[in-house]
C-alpha cells in the first residue's frame, strides 16, 4: 500500500493535471459570459495529438525531437519529489527542493534549444523571453522556498509542507504571506499565465511559451501540453502546501483538502486572467523583481 502511495502524486498528477486547465478555461468563460469548452477539453486535445502523425521542419535535428520527451520525463520525475496533501513524496531527502527547481531548469533548457532548433526567428524570440523571465523568477522561487524552509526549519519538501500547520501561520504568518505572494507570481510566470504571458493569443509576437512550440505537432505537442499541465500541477502544490495548512496526518483528510485547494487555485488563476490584462513585456521583469523582493523580505522577517 505504501509503495503505491509513494507514487500517488505522479499518478494523481497525470490524471488530474489537465483538468486544472479545463477549470481555468471554464472560469474564464463564466467571467466572460460564455459557455466555454468542456471541462475535459484538455484531455481530448492531448489524446487527439497523441494519435496524430508528425510534421517536421527540415532544419531540425534530434534536439527538436528530444525536447518534448525530456520535458515530460522531467516533470514526471519532479513529481516524485513533491508531496501532496498528506501523501509524502516518493523520494524525500534534505535539499530536494533544490533538485526540484533545477529539474525544471533542465526541462527549460531543452524546451529552449528545441525551439531554437527550428531556426525560426519567432521561436528564437520566444526562447529569448523564456530564458529572460526564468532567470528573473528563479531567485524569487529559491529565496521564497528558503524563507519557508527557515520558518519551518526543514529543507525537504515533504517535511516542510507537512509542518505548515495553523500554528505556524500564527507564528510566522507575515513571512508566509509574503513568500506565498512571491510564489504565486512565480507560479503565474512559470506557467505562462496572465499577467506574464497570455496562453490564448495567437499573435506570435506577443507570446512566450506558446511560440516556442509553434513547430511542434502530433505526439510531440501532446507531450508538451501534458508536461505543461503537470508543471502547473507541481508548482501549484507549492502554493497549496503553504496556503492550505491542513496537515493532520490523515491521508484521507489531507489529500482531498489539497485537491480542493488545487481546484481553488485554478479558479483563482481563472479569475486573475479574466480581470487583468497582460503586462507589457518590458514590465514583466519588474514584476519578477518585485516577487524576488517579497521573497527576500519573507526571508529576513523574523
Amino acid at each position: 500500500m505504501m509503495t503505491i502511495l509513494k507514487f500517488a502524486n505522479p499518478i494523481l498528477g497525470l490524471v488530474i493535471a489537465p483538468f486544472l486547465l479545463g477549470v481555468i478555461n471554464r472560469t474564464k468563460a463564466v467571467f466572460a459570459g460564455r459557455t466555454g469548452q468542456p471541462l475535459l477539453q484538455p484531455y481530448y486535445d492531448i489524446w487527439k495529438l497523441l494519435r496524430k502523425g508528425a510534421v517536421y521542419s527540415r532544419t531540425t535535428s534530434w534536439i527538436f525531437r528530444a525536447g518534448p520527451v525530456l520535458g515530460l520525463a522531467v516533470t514526471l520525475t519532479a513529481a516524485l519529489l513533491m508531496p501532496f496533501g498528506g501523501i509524502p513524496a516518493a523520494i524525500a531527502f534534505k535539499g530536494d527542493l533544490i533538485l526540484f527547481i533545477y529539474l525544471f531548469g533542465l526541462m527549460r533548457f531543452f524546451t529552449v534549444i528545441s525551439a531554437m532548433d527550428t531556426g525560426s526567428s519567432l521561436e528564437g524570440m520566444g526562447a529569448s523571453r523564456e530564458v529572460t523571465f526564468s532567470a528573473m523568477s528563479e531567485p524569487a522561487l529559491l529565496i521564497g522556498l528558503a524563507a519557508i524552509a527557515k520558518c519551518t526549519g526543514y529543507i525537504s519538501l515533504t517535511q516542510m509542507f507537512s509542518s505548515v500547520v495553523p500554528e505556524l501561520w500564527l507564528r510566522s504568518g507575515p513571512a508566509l504571506v509574503l513568500a506565498g505572494v512571491a510564489l504565486l507570481i512565480v507560479f503565474l510566470a512559470e506557467n505562462c499565465r496572465i499577467p506574464v504571458d497570455d496562453p490564448n493569443t495567437h499573435l506570435e509576437l506577443t507570446m512566450i511559451h506558446e511560440v516556442m512550440a509553434l513547430d511542434h505537432g502530433g505526439p510531440d505537442f501532446g507531450f508538451i501540453l501534458y508536461s505543461a499541465a503537470l508543471k502547473m500541477w507541481l508548482l501549484g502544490q507549492i502554493l497549496i502546501g503553504i496556503a492550505v495548512p491542513i496537515h493532520t496526518g490523515n491521508v484521507w483528510l489531507d489529500t482531498p483538502a489539497a485537491i480542493a485547494g488545487m481546484l481553488l487555485l485554478a479558479v483563482v488563476v481563472g479569475v486573475i486572467e479574466s480581470s487583468m490584462a497582460r503586462l507589457r513585456l518590458l514590465h514583466v521583469p519588474q514584476l519578477l523583481i518585485g516577487a524576488t523582493t517579497l521573497s527576500v523580505l519573507a526571508l529576513v522577517l523574523r
Binding site: G53, A54, V55, Y56, S57, R58, T59, S61, I63, R65, V69, L70, L72, A73, T77, L80, I91, K94, G95, D96, I98, L99, Y102, L103, G105, L106, F109, V112, I113, M116, D117, T118, G119, S120, S121, L122, G124, M125, S128, R129, V131, T132, S134, A135, E138, P139, L142, I143, A146, K150, L214, D215, G218, P219, D220, F223, V296, L299, V300, R302
Partner: protein
C-alpha cells in the same frame, strides 16, 4: 614522491626534446603530447594515493638561491588540485596533437609543445611547492609558459594585445604575491610554509587582502579578471582549455593554501569572499551573455565559475568562523568539487569551441549555425558541457552547486540575522547565476549548432578528427560520471577538508556520509529520469511508427522568402537580459532603425566592453602615462640644464646634510 618527480622529469624532458626536434613536426608533436600523457599518468598515481589515504609525502632539498629551499610536499589539498591539472592537461594534449597539426607548415611546432609541457610542469610545481620562493618561481614559469602559448599566433594584433594584457596582469598579481610571501616569511622567519604559525590577526588580515588580490588576479576575480577575456580567445583552444580549466585554479589553490596558513578567519573574510564570489559570478555570466565570440563568452564563464567556487570557499570559511562543521564541510566540499567539475566541463567546452573554430574558421557566434548536422559528436559533447556548466541535474555541475546550497539551507540561517544576509546573498546569486548561465548556454549552443548556417563559415564545416573527438568524448563522459558517481566522489574529499578546516575527521566522515546519502537520492532521481526519458522516447517512436511523418520548411508566418539570416541571432537572443542589466554592462549599441514605408536597410549592433577595464584600468593607465609624459621635459637635451641638475643636487645635499 619519486613517481611524481619521475612524471615531472618526463614532462620537462619531453618538452625539451620536442623543442629541439622542432623541424620535424611529427616528431615534435609525438614527443610533446606523449610525454605529457605518460608523465601525467605516472604523476597522478601518488596524487590519488595521497588523496585517498590522507598521508603526506614531502621532500626537502637545499637550494643555493637565497632564502629558497626546494621543499615540495603532496598533501591532500595539493593532490586534489593535481588530479584535474594532470588529467585535463593530458586529455588536452591528445586534442592539441591534432589541433596544432594544422599549423605545421607555418610554425615550428616544437615551440608550443615545449611551452605546453613547461606550463604543466609549472602548475605541478605550484601546487606542491612549500617554499615561498620556489612557489613564486614555479608560479612565474607557469605564467610565462602560458603567455607564450597565448601568443602562439603572434602575427595577429589581437593576439599580441591579449598576450600583453595577460602578461601585465599576471605580473602585477605576482607583485602582490611577492609582498604576501615576504610578509609571511618575515613573521615565520623562513619562507618555508611549515614554519608558519600563529599569525597575529592584524597581519593575517593584511595577508588575506594580499592573497585575494594576488591569487585573485590569476583566478579571475572581478575586477582583476580583465586579462581572461583576452587571453583565452587568443590562445590555441587546447591551451585555453588548460588555462581556463586548471591554470586559473592555481589561484584558487593559492587562496586555499593561504587560508590554511592564516589561521582562524574573522567574519569579514567570509563576507568578503562571498561578496567577491557573488560579484564575479553574476557579472561574469552577464558579460558572458553579452559576448559574440564563443571563446570570449567561455572566458567570462570562467569568471562566473570561479565566482561560484569562491562562494563555496566563503561559505566554508563562514562555517569555520561560526563553528558550524556542516557549513564548513559542505561549503569547502562544494567549492572544491566545483574546481574539479569546472575543469572537466570548461575544458570540454573550450575543446568544443576549438573544434568549431578549427573547422569553421571563426568563433563569431552570429556567423555560425546548424553545425549539429555536420559535427554531431562535437555538438553532442558541447551540449553535455553546456548542461553541466548551467548547473543542471544530473550532470556534475549541479552536484557542486547543490552542495553549497545544501550547506546554506541546512545551517546558513542558524546564526541569526548576521548569517541570513550571507545566506541570502549565496542563494540569490547562485540562483541568478544559474538562470543566466542557462540563458547564455542555450544561446551559445542554440545559435552555433542549431538552425541554419548563417554564413559560408558555417556551411563548410566538417567533423574533426579522431584525436580531437576522442578527447571531447572522454571529458563528456567524465561530466556524466562525476555526476552519477558523486556519492563516492564526495567521500574522497574528507582528507582535503580535514586539511583545510581541522575539524575532527570523524565529524567530517559523518557529515560526508550524510551528504553522500543525499547525493545517492539524486543519483536515483537521475536514473529515474533517464528511465522515463527512454520510456517516453520509445513510446513516441511507437506512436509515430505507424503514422506519416512529413518534412517541410520551418513555419515562418507565411513570409514569402525566408532566409538563414532572418534567424534569431545571439545578440538579439541576449538583448532582453543585457538591456535589463545595462546598468552594469554599459553595452554600446548601434541602431539604425527602420525608417519610411519601404525601409531599405536597418541594423543593430552591440558591443560590450568590460566595465572594470573601461572605467577602472584604462583611466588609470592613461592617467599614469599622461602624467609621466608631462614629466618628460626633464630630459630635454640641453647640456646646461643637465649640469644645472648636478649643481642643484649638490647644493641641496650640502644644505640639507650639513645644516
Amino acid at each position: 614522491m619519486s613517481l611524481f618527480l619521475w612524471g615531472l622529469a618526463i614532462i620537462i624532458i619531453g618538452g625539451l626534446a620536442s623543442l629541439f626536434s622542432g623541424r620535424k613536426p611529427g616528431l615534435a608533436t609525438f614527443l610533446g603530447s606523449v610525454s605529457v600523457v605518460v608523465g601525467s599518468v605516472i604523476a597522478v598515481v601518488p596524487a590519488f594515493k595521497v588523496l585517498l589515504t590522507g598521508s603526506i609525502e614531502s621532500l626537502q632539498l637545499n637550494w643555493s638561491v637565497p632564502s629558497g629551499s626546494f621543499f615540495i610536499q603532496i598533501d591532500p589539498i595539493s593532490a586534489l588540485f593535481l588530479i584535474p591539472i594532470l588529467g585535463l592537461t593530458a586529455v588536452a594534449a591528445i586534442y592539441g596533437a591534432e589541433y596544432l597539426w594544422a599549423y605545421r607548415e607555418k610554425k615550428n611546432l616544437g615551440v608550443p609543445w615545449f611551452f605546453y609541457n613547461l606550463l604543466l610542469a609549472g602548475m605541478m610545481l605550484v601546487v606542491v611547492a612549500r617554499n615561498g620562493l620556489l612557489f613564486l618561481v614555479a608560479w612565474e614559469i607557469m605564467s610565462l609558459a602560458s603567455f607564450f602559448l597565448v601568443t602562439f599566433e603572434y602575427e595577429k594584433p589581437m593576439v599580441r594585445q591579449a598576450g600583453w594584457i595577460y602578461l601585465i596582469a599576471t605580473h602585477i598579481g605576482t607583485a602582490f604575491l611577492i609582498v604576501f610571501f615576504i610578509l609571511l616569511g618575515r613573521h615565520a622567519g623562513s619562507l618555508d610554509f611549515d614554519k608558519v604559525s600563529e599569525i597575529p590577526s592584524s597581519l593575517a588580515s593584511i595577508l588575506f587582502v594580499l592573497a585575494v588580490i594576488g591569487f585573485g588576479t590569476k583566478a579571475g576575480f572581478m575586477p582583476f579578471h580583465v586579462w581572461l577575456p583576452y587571453a583565452h580567445p587568443a590562445a590555441p583552444s587546447h591551451v585555453s582549455a588548460v588555462m581556463s580549466g586548471v591554470m586559473i585554479k592555481t589561484g584558487v589553490y593559492g587562496l586555499v593554501r593561504a587560508l590554511t596558513l592564516l589561521g582562524m578567519p574573522p567574519v569579514w573574510w567570509c563576507w568578503a569572499l562571498i561578496a567577491i564570489g557573488a560579484i564575479s559570478g553574476v557579472l561574469g555570466v552577464l558579460f558572458a551573455l553579452a559576448q559574440h565570440d564563443l571563446k570570449r563568452l567561455l572566458a567570462y564563464h570562467s569568471v562566473e565559475n570561479i565566482g561560484i567556487i569562491t562562494i563555496g570557499l566563503g561559505v566554508g570559511l563562514l562555517g569555520i568562523n561560526m563553528n558550524s562543521p556542516t557549513l564548513a564541510i559542505l561549503g569547502f566540499g562544494g567549492g572544491l568539487l566545483h574546481v574539479i567539475n569546472h575543469a572537466v566541463f570548461k575544458g570540454l567546452l573550450f575543446l568544443g569551441a576549438g573544434a568549431v573554430l578549427h573547422s569553421s574558421g571563426t568563433g563569431h557566434i552570429d556567423l555560425l549555425g546548424g553545425l549539429i548536422k555536420r559535427m554531431p559528436v562535437t555538438a553532442f559533447t558541447f551540449l553535455v558541457g553546456s548542461i553541466a556548466i548551467s548547473g543542471l541535474p544530473p550532470l556534475n555541475g549541479f552536484i557542486s552547486e547543490f552542495l553549497i546550497y545544501l550547506g546554506v539551507f541546512k545551517n546558513g540561517f542558524a546564526g541569526g540575522f548576521e548569517s541570513i544576509i550571507p545566506a541570502l546573498v549565496v542563494i540569490g546569486s547562485l540562483a541568478l547565476i544559474g538562470g543566466l548561465a542557462l540563458a547564455c548556454f542555450t544561446k551559445a549552443f542554440g545559435v552555433i549548432f542549431l538552425g541554419e548556417p548563417r554564413s559560408n563559415y558555417a556551411k563548410q564545416v566538417h567533423e574533426v578528427g579522431f584525436c580531437m573527438k576522442s578527447s571531447m568524448v572522454i571529458l563528456a563522459t567524465l561530466c556524466v560520471l562525476l555526476g552519477i558517481c558523486s556519492p563516492w566522489v564526495i567521500k574522497s574529499a574528507e582528507n582535503v577538508i580535514f586539511e583545510i578546516t581541522s575539524i575532527p575527521l570523524e565529524t567530517i566522515q559523518t557529515e560526508l556520509a550524510a551528504t553522500s546519502a543525499v547525493l545517492m537520492n539524486i543519483v536515483i532521481i537521475s536514473l529515474v529520469l533517464l528511465g522515463l526519458t527512454i520510456t517516453f522516447a520509445v513510446l513516441r517512436k511507437l506512436m509515430l511508427s505507424t503514422r506519416g511523418i512529413r518534412q517541410v520548411g520551418t513555419w515562418d508566418c507565411g513570409y514569402a522568402k525566408p532566409d538563414a539570416r532572418m534567424q534569431y541571432t545571439a545578440a538579439s537572443f541576449a538583448q532582453p537580459l543585457t538591456d535589463l542589466f545595462k546598468m552594469f554592462l554599459r553595452s554600446l549599441k548601434k541602431i539604425s532603425p527602420v525608417k519610411g514605408i519601404f525601409p531599405a536597410q536597418s541594423a543593430f549592433h552591440t558591443d560590450t566592453s568590460d566595465i572594470s577595464e573601461k572605467y577602472m584600468y584604462q583611466p588609470l593607465f592613461s592617467w599614469v602615462s599622461s602624467s609621466f609624459s608631462r614629466l618628460r621635459w626633464l630630459q630635454q637635451g640641453r647640456l646646461q640644464i643637465y649640469i644645472l641638475y648636478i649643481a642643484l643636487t649638490l647644493w641641496i645635499l650640502l644644505i640639507w646634510k650639513l645644516m
